[in-house]
Symmetry: D3
Subunit: 135 residues, 6 copies
């Protein structure tokens, strides 16, 4: 199994609902350093897992609507806790969609799975990974 990983980051505000969150129920924020790992069993004709320029651009486009935002105000997250693990799945879903729509290039049809990791500090991170449905 081959992997390629690219990194970017976002800076967001949000708050949480629920006793488990303690002081994090207050409006606060986070820098998420975002790693996306693309996986496939065989390299494409260029010797690549994915066109890294297209992958980086797709990641930037997926992150842009979240960057410099208060996530509490985004309708798609209403009544949801935008925990680090929840956001990892959000990024996964949007990148999987980008792959299906051809925004990662034709050869991205060979990708079999993705893993998205969000680093929230030097002592904590969360991730979501899954297979990609066949196109």
């Amino acid at each position: 199994m081959y992997s390629v990983c690219v990194r970017d980051h976002i800076m967001i505000a949000h708050s949480f609902a629920g006793e488990a969150f303690g002081p994090a129920r207050q409006l606060h924020g986070a820098t998420y350093v975002v790693d996306v790992e693309f996986r496939r069993a065989q390299l494409d004709d260029d010797g690549l897992v994915v066109d890294i320029a297209l992958a980086s651009q797709a990641l930037r486009e997926v992150l842009a609507p979240l960057n410099y935002r208060n996530l509490d105000l985004l309708p798609e997250f209403s009544a949801r806790n935008t925990t680090t693990e929840f956001l990892a799945k959000v990024v996964f879903d949007r990148l999987a969609s980008a792959a299906r729509d051809g925004r990662l290039g034709a050869s991205a049809a060979g990708l079999t799975s993705l893993r998205v990791i969000l680093h929230e500090s030097h002592v904590a991170w969360a991730s979501f990974e899954a297979e990609l449905a066949a196109r």
Copy 2:
């Protein structure tokens, strides 16, 4: 699959027995930077893999009896080489026990596996991972 990872560290002394260890047969020591990755298939009702405050506290409690100790003197390790990979399993077993005992909270029943990584320097680390037995 979702993951959340938390980090802590310990500073221990120990020595090894066996030709393979060369100068490490002498009493020496290590800082282990310890990462624990908690995994589950679905988030709990709060949108969490695990209550990160409880997870961090459980990790600290598991590491405390090892921290600032000469492992050669601990009865539970007598006649064992406390290699980095061996210690990764020790931390795994004790955290798995903490999860079973409810010390990670009720929702931790949904955890399916753990991975424990011990970084011993900028050029070497070891890990142990396994499924968690159903409670």
Copy 3:
């Protein structure tokens, strides 16, 4: 010159005023991984720059009123841009005060300067450093 550095972190929300800030004028947030470097010319009688337990505790106390907060709502920052470099000075001033008040222990009288670094992502950080006034 000797130095000792300890690390902690905070997660805050804020927004900026001014054309230079572009999308960062929106309410967003950041994780700041905070390094504080303590400096002195001679070690104390214990062979220390500073008691690292007291230093870590003082840093946590200094960071606590900022952690999990929307800095836009804190009176002491009203009408100020809480940029990373500005916050580095805030942390510096509060730690310098802690040193003067004896919260770093008696031997901290020998400290000559501090440097505070706030890492805001994997690609940017800011710092403030200065001499400590003699007690």
Copy 4:
């Protein structure tokens, strides 16, 4: 499952063929920081996944013919794009061969899989992992 990982690095020149590569079609170069993760289900009699001294030495020997070289001139890579993911497999194959030949020691017969990661910058890496054929 247990793992042990060791790290080394190489500095190489190369160029790529194909429209996808843009400016990377020019002769340029890279530092690859190379992590190799060795995996097995049970520790050996010494409590080890692999003799770390032998593993580090085998990695150095595998990397030596690539280090400080222009990969475009190496016959074994003629007409191939030596992408990061391609090179991860090259290192994998040569280390798997070293394991089969006994260069990792007798106990390395218990290794079940390897993962090779090449970090090419602070924002990108690639890897190859696979089972090891039984000796």
Copy 5:
């Protein structure tokens, strides 16, 4: 003293002349992860050391003519060893020029010094730092 640091990277090929260089006399390459630290005594009216967007853009422009190139072929480096420390000064000189030319914004007139660090691997880096001549 305040600092702000931004990071980018380049991937280059080159070779060295001189007995001291051993195998590095062969054509090889490197990834340089480039940190630039901007320093000043007082923040500007926005609470900034430098406009981070302009600083990042200036760094990218300074690095572009070096990125994906064989430095042995660039006329400005003919008969020079493009060591990591030499290149740190090249980047310094070009950024100092950008600051003088106003490409970092009007407020950059307050900058007093720069430090440029080039990380060439996980075990080695080089830097150049100096005062900036008053505009």
Copy 6:
């Protein structure tokens, strides 16, 4: 001012005397990841701060007598607390001596200062820096 930095590491056991040390009065240990920064105002004729191969070798030789040792048993440290900051000065003194003795090569006469940093965990480090006496 130019700098070049090289990295290595040691794994040691020790204990401390004094109330300030709490549980660290017990025999424990540490991995120290050691960075040494060499500084000079002008590059040598090869375009170097220091011959990096000689510098790395000198660092390894300086660290060897400490590596895999219980520092409490080394006569030169009897009745001393081998704190991280104290050890940074020990490494400094031995490397300064190596420079004076010509073990860093003839051109090392141009070095003006050294900084030695010992990283003891992901949250703490200590350093010592000073001018080098003219040879």
